[in-house]
């Protein structure tokens, strides 16, 4: 299970390890279950513990962003490693969600 914190209506989900097609499904599902359970107004996806991501990580962010937006909530990304940031900006994710330095 992904580590997470809930503070008022801010849900922070800490992703860990490598995000690829093999692992992304489980990560997305865990985040979705937490969103459904806590109905946060702000979701922070913390990439501080992520050591690798390919395009599967883009879809993980996009899917959670859509789920949050549907309920009027916001999504932000935190502590995204430099190499992963480049992939995210190729997909223009930085135009869609705020990418902050720290949680």
């Amino acid at each position: 299970m992904a580590a997470y914190t809930v503070n008022n209506d801010v849900l922070t989900v800490q992703f860990k390890g490598e995000i690829d097609h093999h692992s992304a499904g489980r990560m997305a599902k865990e985040a979705d279950e937490l969103i459904t359970k806590y109905e946060p107004s702000l979701l922070i996806l913390d990439f501080g513990g992520v050591t690798f991501s390919d395009s599967s990580g883009i879809a993980v962010v996009l899917g959670r962003y859509k789920k949050m937006t549907a309920k009027g909530g916001q999504t932000e990304l935190a502590s995204v490693p430099k190499s992963i940031k480049r992939i995210f900006s190729l997909a223009a994710l930085d135009k869609l969600v705020k990418i902050r330095e720290n949680v």
Binding site: H21, H22, F52, S55, K82, S83
Partner: protein
């Protein structure tokens, strides 16, 4: 540049092999003394091509993914040439497939794999034949650091 080393890797189209494939190619490329960033780029493009073979090439069927990597070098630079090949269903319209955000996948795909492969390599080519399979060729130059 002369061919200094080569390797081949074949494995069944299982998602558990995605990590194995990218780490293996990166470990092989380490002979060219790439930067941490270049290594991350090599891992990423291999992961994209292998995932495409598994997800789009073979879909629910099984098959073998073939990777070949060749290292070239001279006194100024090194170069890695990687091919990833599947014998899956092939691509109907390559031009369309290369467009950013185009995907025939479900909502767990972003349509960004080919865009990432192009942006992280120096040369990139896709050849595909419907019903026969797809081959992705990627070249990346690694400049020698003194």
């Amino acid at each position: 540049m002369y061919l200094s080393n080569e390797m081949a890797l074949s494995f069944p189209a299982k998602s558990a092999n995605e990590g194995f494939a990218r780490v293996s190619v990166a470990a092989f490329a380490a002979q060219l003394d790439p930067t941490v960033e270049e290594l991350a780029e090599i891992k990423t493009v291999v992961s994209e091509a292998v995932t495409n073979a598994i997800v789009h090439g073979y879909k629910e069927t099984t098959g073998i993914v073939h990777i070949k990597a060749k290292l070239y070098s001279d006194s100024f630079a090194g170069k890695i040439v990687i091919t990833v090949r599947d014998s899956g269903e092939g691509i109907k319209d390559i031009k369309q497939a290369l467009e950013p955000c185009f995907t025939t996948g479900a909502d767990d795909r972003a349509g960004m794999g080919f865009t990432i492969m192009q942006s992280f390599t120096d040369k990139f080519r896709v050849t595909s034949s419907l019903g026969k399979g797809t081959t992705v060729l990627m070249e990346k130059t690694i400049v020698r650091r003194s």
